[in-house]
């Protein structure tokens, strides 16, 4: 494998360093939660009134604490390893990510989750055709930014896409999001975060929904209209009474995150990607001089 070069005269980031960075951010992601998620979970615990709802949130909070103290994965489902690489990136990073995932699976350890979709044969190392998936977003920055989102299947399985009729408009969008959350019930390990992608095409909508989940809960949507929609949807889903783990209560969701892209005049795609309370993410930035900075919260390169 070649070192990743920004251009001929720049310093190099070695593949070994990159591999280590991947292991490090995976470890951070699976053993701790970003502070925005923790503080909303804590607030939820104080707001709940039923014993059962409170007990579920207490178990979650205590569990995260234990995981962090012992540096072990907070959930046995360490997810599908999804990577987002932005800035000055180079396709070679993919090989370093594969090596990092394989090592992290052994060292942390992660549960080997990745199987052939039909034979269901487990590769044993979380690698496979098309796995891990790396989303590249090249940019002019003077660094490479890499974010990992280990995505649990319980919540991912509840995701849904609907190609609405343009004439159905916002009403149908809202109705669809509500339906997805209600249909999911206790299965995606609520309280969840609801990622919503509006517009684009079928694949873009889902991609937007997934990426929206990377935005910290305490970071407002820069688009005022979408910020209002997020708040409206959050209030609504929390009135359903599904509650933590679907056992009833006020906290069904911790946040709703919406993103949009312009779309074809004949289309209105809407995608919902659910994230469980174990909303794990972590980032690192690698600079040309070999310096690396880490963020447990995830960076915000837009």
């Amino acid at each position: 494998m070649h070192p990743v070069s920004f251009n001929r005269c720049d310093a190099m980031i070695s593949p070994e360093l990159m591999e280590q960075v991947v292991v490090n951010i995976l470890r951070t992601a699976v053993t701790s939660l970003p502070s925005d998620i923790m503080s909303v979970l804590e607030k939820a615990e104080s707001v709940e009134t039923s014993d059962i709802a409170k007990s579920q949130l207490r178990a979650i909070l205590q569990n995260v604490k234990c995981a962090e103290e012992a540096s072990i994965p907070m959930c046995q489902d360490t997810g599908t390893p999804l990577f987002f690489v932005s800035g000055r990136c180079d396709g070679d990073i993919e090989e370093a990510i594969r090596k990092g995932v394989e090592r992290a699976t052994r060292e942390i350890p992660l549960r080997p989750n990745i199987v052939h979709p039909l034979s269901r044969k487990n590769s044993g190392n979380n690698l496979g055709v098309g796995m891990p998936q790396v989303h590249f977003l090249p940019g002019p920055e003077g660094f490479v930014e890499i974010t990992v989102m280990p995505k649990g299947a319980g919540s991912e399985n509840m995701s849904a896409l609907r190609m609405l009729s343009p004439s159905e408009g916002l009403k149908s969008v809202k109705s669809f999001v509500l339906d997805v959350v209600v249909n999911a019930g206790g299965r995606p390990c609520p309280p969840t975060i609801v990622g919503v992608g509006i517009g684009g095409s079928a694949d873009i909508a889902m991609s937007l929904a997934k990426r929206a989940l990377l935005r910290p809960l305490d970071v407002m949507n820069p688009n005022a209209e979408l910020a209002g929609l997020e708040e409206e949807l959050l209030d609504a889903v929390n009135l359903t009474g599904i509650g933590p783990m679907g056992l009833g209560g006020r906290t069904t969701c911790l946040g709703v995150k919406v993103d949009l892209a312009y779309c074809h005049t004949a289309s209105l795609p809407v995608a919902v990607n659910l994230q469980c309370w174990a909303a794990r993410r972590a980032s690192a930035r690698m600079f040309r001089d070999g310096r690396v900075t880490y963020s447990k919260e995830g960076f915000l390169l837009d």
Partner: protein, 195 residues
Amino acid sequence: MRTPLSEKDVRSLRAGQVVHLDGIVYTGRDEVHVRALEKHDKGEGLPVDLKGAALYHCGPIVKDDDGGWTLVAAGPTTSARMNGLEPRFIETFGIRAIIGKGGMSQPTIDAMKNFGCVYLAITGGAAVLAAKGVKRVVGVEWLDLGMPEALWIFEAENLGPLIVGIDADGNSLFKKVDDEVRKNLTQVRKRLDVE
């Protein structure tokens, strides 16, 4: 409560009650259900005796330390995926408790009522806490199915808190919440202006 469980043990439990488990607990998710029933259909025996057993819908992370298994994380998986095979599984093997998350559908609830079995809800994702309730990994069968899908044998000690989500009379906390949600939806739809 200690496993193996008797019919009397489980019939005395009520939905909403909180319990802890001691004794042997078997993990089993999609593939264990498929293989166990296939073996039974072919007249072959299972490597473990599931009579009175607690079946845990769980695909754990287990570390292979020289000479033994160490449990790292062991939270529940979504039980609904097992809805299709669970009624037959309960009837065929005589399990008395299912531990999982999210609840199960009516045919499973009916089988639980008929044959005496309860559903115990454990907090989804709280895998480190759950692993603290397992004293040791006794062994594993069918490891060829992969770590998550294999049949792990745990010795539980104070595993819980487990909430009786569905009792052997067919009362389901999940159904109760479902009914509530359905009632609330009218209000929620009005609020969203999507009636």
